[in-house]
């Protein structure tokens, strides 16, 4: 058998090492294992492939996927990734490091996390952000737990039915054993009482609408509960901030900040809160410090909240987060800047409104919902939603995604070109024509 490129042990090395240990074979390293458990069978793995064969196999698999032009969102948005991001995030000093436990040789990771936290605070208007969690929906479940931990003798969480389905399903899954009682309804503010620890509302809802949250925080706070807003961080660059709406906690998924769709991940959840809740925030937090010579540096801080110190009394069980994806978001926001983010949202706004108006003109859809939107919108087709979706799929579009309540969902990011948008409109018109026959 050829030597595996990633295992440097030669036969001679193995003999030398065994001799130092005082053993004569590798098997003796497992002499303490009940021998009936040693696996003698053949492993159901392919015969080892070379690197070139491995790449060819992956290319073969990739070729089995259909290349579609994406006109849908619902929690994953097809924004452009500037080339700088993969180039820098691939630097192995970032990529192959672990959690920055040894701060003296981890200032790179620690500093970009501090920058990430600062940028999330800038977008949300809130005081403190963590170093990221797994994704937006798990961030929401963590926020629900934070609400319970931050209020006295309250364990109910009221969540809006207008949250994205992917967020609601995770909230529900965590609620089964997770220490909070969840009620999801169209108007959670009407169900406030003394048992409610927190209310979770969307900042942009599943219909794509920018929500008017006037009075929400006052109502929630008057009932002694906390307000959590689920946000699209890209849109937050132009939206009224969670802090301005009076939210206590803001969560969401950083995926729209330049992360490829990648069949669902890796993305990164973000969490930000007001200062008084800081010690209930889960996950890693990086803080500024100084070394013995007074040089500014950065460290993991407030670790008394975390599982490796507090064990079962920790604010969360989270250990690994999505550090490298936080770097992606940080690079993205650095490149875009305030002006780029504004222009990006304007481009999405123009293109999505252009598409919506053209779609309405086909006569295939009911009158749209009231309310403004940035890039995502829903329409209720007068025909079978699945048939429309399937028709467009056959033409190479991932569009008119069947959504709840008989709607189909569309999303137009800055990536969609005039030609792509026109082609989608032509396909819908063609469908309308065929339906009319």
């Amino acid at each position: 058998m050829a030597q595996f490129p990633f295992f440097p042990h030669t036969g001679e090395d193995v003999s030398r090492m065994l001799k130092r240990i005082g053993l004569s074979s590798l098997e003796e390293l497992y002499a303490d294992v009940p021998q009936e458990f040693l696996y003698r069978g053949e492993y159901d793995l392919p015969s080892a492939l070379t690197e070139a064969e491995t790449k060819a196999r992956l290319e073969e698999l990739a070729a089995k996927n259909r290349k579609l032009t994406v006109f849908a969102g619902q929690g994953a948005y097809d924004h452009y990734t500037p080339s700088v991001i993969p180039a820098l995030a691939a630097r192995s000093e970032f990529l192959t490091a672990y959690t920055p436990y040894q701060c003296e040789i981890s200032q790179g990771t620690l500093r970009y996390i501090f920058e990430f936290q600062s940028m999330i605070c800038a977008l949300t208007g809130l005081d403190v952000a963590n170093a990221s969690v797994y994704d937006g929906p798990t961030a929401t479940a963590e926020a629900a737990r934070m609400c319970v931990a931050s209020t006295r003798k309250r364990n109910r969480i009221l969540a809006s039915a207008a949250l994205l389905p992917c967020v609601r399903k995770v909230l529900e899954a965590y609620a089964v054993f997770g220490g909070y009682a969840l009620s999801i309804s169209d108007n959670p503010l009407s169900a406030l009482d003394a048992s409610v620890a927190g209310v979770i509302l969307p900042s942009v809802d599943k219909y794509g609408r920018v929500c008017d949250l006037d009075g929400a925080a006052d109502a929630v706070h008057a009932a002694g509960a906390l307000l959590v807003l689920y946000c699209d961080p890209s849109a937050l660059a132009v939206l009224r901030t969670p802090a301005d709406w009076g939210a206590d906690i803001a969560v969401g998924d950083a995926q729209p900040l330049g992360m490829p769709l990648s069949y669902g991940g890796p993305y990164a959840g973000f969490m930000a809160c007001r200062e008084p809740l800081m010690r209930k925030l889960p996950g890693r937090i990086v803080g500024q410090a100084a070394d013995g010579e007074g040089r500014r540096c950065f460290v993991l801080t407030l670790q008394a909240r975390e599982q490796h110190i507090r064990r079962e009394k920790a604010t969360s069980n989270i250990c690994s987060n999505e550090s490298l994806m936080a770097l992606w978001a940080t690079l993205y926001l650095s490149l875009m800047g305030p002006q780029g983010m504004k222009e990006l949202n304007a481009a999405c706004y123009r293109s999505s409104h252009f598409l919506r108006d053209k779609l309405l003109a086909t006569g295939l859809f009911d009158a749209p919902l009231e309310g403004d939107f940035v890039k995502e919108f829903v329409l209720r087709p007068r025909v079978d939603a699945r048939r429309l979706h399937k028709y467009l799929l056959d033409k190479g579009f991932f569009a008119a995604l069947p959504a709840e309540e008989g709607f189909v969902s569309f999303c137009v990011t800055e990536r969609r070109t005039r030609a792509e948008i026109d082609a989608l409109i032509a396909a819908v018109e063609q469908f309308a024509g065929e339906e009319g026959k």
């Binding site: 790449k55 701060c103 920058e115 040089r295 500014r296 507090r310 005039r418």
Partner: protein, 469 residues
């Protein structure tokens, strides 16, 4: 080179930008800035050019240390080399939307199905979910499965779970978050779970046990057969914490030892990069009997399909590993750990003398140099001194069983020459400590910064950038 200390915000200058953005299609009037829904002032993001960004983050990367920089013997973290081809292939799947119909993502589904088959082969389990995004997320998901299993059988009184005192902190934390009360199982003098100490803790309220095998001391829980029989007899399930799966790969399988549920850290065992603390991937496997309970959580604990891009990397690695090299993986990792242990035991305190698996724990220096008026060198001091010599430090002060824990895990991707260099440096540090512990206490001397004042940082937290007034 002098220490580069800037934040990206400090490079900002009004009017600069680092990205170009299209205008969009159509001429809808942009409402931003007017009315109640939109923000009045733009977010305080930096305004920098593309060269500014590239140089800043390149400099930050140079302040970091990764597996590619050098030996990273961080115990329980399995910092093995990450093959480069594995980083290249996820881009092939970058354009797939997670809600696409199965027939349009046949390649991605085939990849997941095949990875599931490979993981079943290596672990002896029958079904996997890829929803969990990290190891602790896998633990939580696994415990949800465990609880669903009991509830589906109408067995609702099982609210306590056994966790050895040597377990990773995530175990009791995951249990608590899943509504289970962790019950600590004390380790015996040999560092192992003693079935006799376990027996009185068992009963109809026990949902199961979370075991790390080999445990965090790197010792194989050799009473596993008896433990499995006892826990199963009382109606509980066995959860396997995959954090320490590495030494078993290619040698034995948790499924054959009686475990019902496990998670695998793809970012440890199957060579995907740790990314400075994620993204990881923590797929959870179960036996046939737990398939319905698995279905209750599959696809529900994260937004879509978990960290698919990480699974792609692990799949590529498994293809290269194949049925031949899988046989070498655990054995080489175990060989390397024992080699270091035997080469240093005359300089460092070995609390339990036994063949270890992929890692082992010293309890500080044999001679810490302490004398009248001079405090001895601690494990922290040894760790910091290692940084001066170009190595990452081992895991320190864990497990909690000893006061000066120094946990070393070399993995199977380090050469004998690297191990010998590390051993030589560890011996030199031990000699330095004996002669002059203050040299270690002042370490590191050659890193970009010295030891920070972490207490002060926690007392007066500064957690975001604020422009100077």
């Amino acid at each position: 080179m002098s220490y580069y200390d800037k934040l990206i915000f400090e490079l900002s200058k009004n009017g600069r930008r680092g990205a170009s953005v299209p205008r969009g299609v159509g001429d809808a009037e942009i409402p931003f800035g007017a009315g109640t829904l939109w923000r009045e002032t733009p977010p305080a993001l930096p305004e920098v050019s593309e060269p500014d960004v590239v140089r800043h983050y390149t400099r930050l990367s140079q302040l970091n240390f990764g597996v590619d920089s050098g030996f990273y013997p961080l115990g329980s973290c399995t910092m093995k080399y990450n093959p480069k081809v594995c980083d290249e292939v996820p881009a092939l799947f970058a354009g797939l939307h997670p809600l696409q119909e199965e027939e349009t993502v046949a390649g991605a589904r085939e990849l997941l199905a095949e990875t599931e088959r490979f993981l079943c082969a290596v672990t002896g389990m029958k079904h996997f979910t890829f929803s969990p995004c990290a190891g602790a997320h896998g633990e939580l998901t696994g415990l949800m499965i465990l609880r669903h299993y009991h509830e589906m059988r109408g067995d609702t009184a099982r609210t306590r779970i056994l966790v050895p005192d040597s377990a990773h902190g995530t175990n009791p934390a995951s249990a608590a978050i899943c509504g289970l009360e962790p019950v600590t199982v004390p380790s015996g003098p040999d560092g192992l779970v003693d079935p006799e100490a376990l027996r009185p803790l068992l009963g109809p309220d026990i949902a199961g046990i979370m075991l790390t095998n080999p445990n965090t001391l790197g010792l194989f829980e050799k009473h596993i057969k008896e433990i499995a029989a006892m826990v199963h007899a009382c109606g509980g399930l066995l959860y396997y914490d995959g954090a320490n799966l590495n030494p078993l790969v290619g040698v034995l399988r948790p499924g054959d030892m009686g475990f019902d549920i496990l998670h695998v850290n793809l970012h440890k065992t199957f060579a995907t990069p740790h990314g400075g603390g994620g993204p990881g991937s923590g797929p959870v496997g179960v036996t046939e009997a737990l398939k319905p309970a698995l279905a209750a959580v599959d696809g529900r604990v994260s937004a879509f399909h978990g960290n698919f891009g990480v699974v792609v990397r692990a799949y590529a690695y498994l293809l290269m590993l194949g049925r031949e090299h899988v046989r070498e993986l655990g054995a080489f990792a175990t060989l390397s750990a024992n080699y270091i242990k035997e080469s240093l035991r005359d300089k460092y305190k070995l609390p339990i003398d036994s063949v270890c698996k992929h890692e082992f724990v010293f309890d500080g220096l044999l001679d810490d140099g302490a004398r009248e008026g001079v405090p001895g060198a601690t494990t922290l001091d040894v760790a910091k001194r290692l940084l001066d010599y170009g190595f990452h430090a081992p895991t320190i002060y864990f497990p909690l069983l000893f006061h000066q824990s120094l946990m070393i895990e070399p993995t199977e991707t380090e050469s004998l020459e690297t191990l010998d260099e590390f051993i030589a440096v560890m011996r030199k540090i031990a000699d330095e400590a004996a002669a002059d512990p203050m040299l270690l206490k002042a370490a590191p001397h050659h890193t970009p910064i010295g030891r920070p004042d972490e207490t002060e940082a926690a007392r007066h937290p500064i957690l975001k950038y604020t422009p100077a007034a």
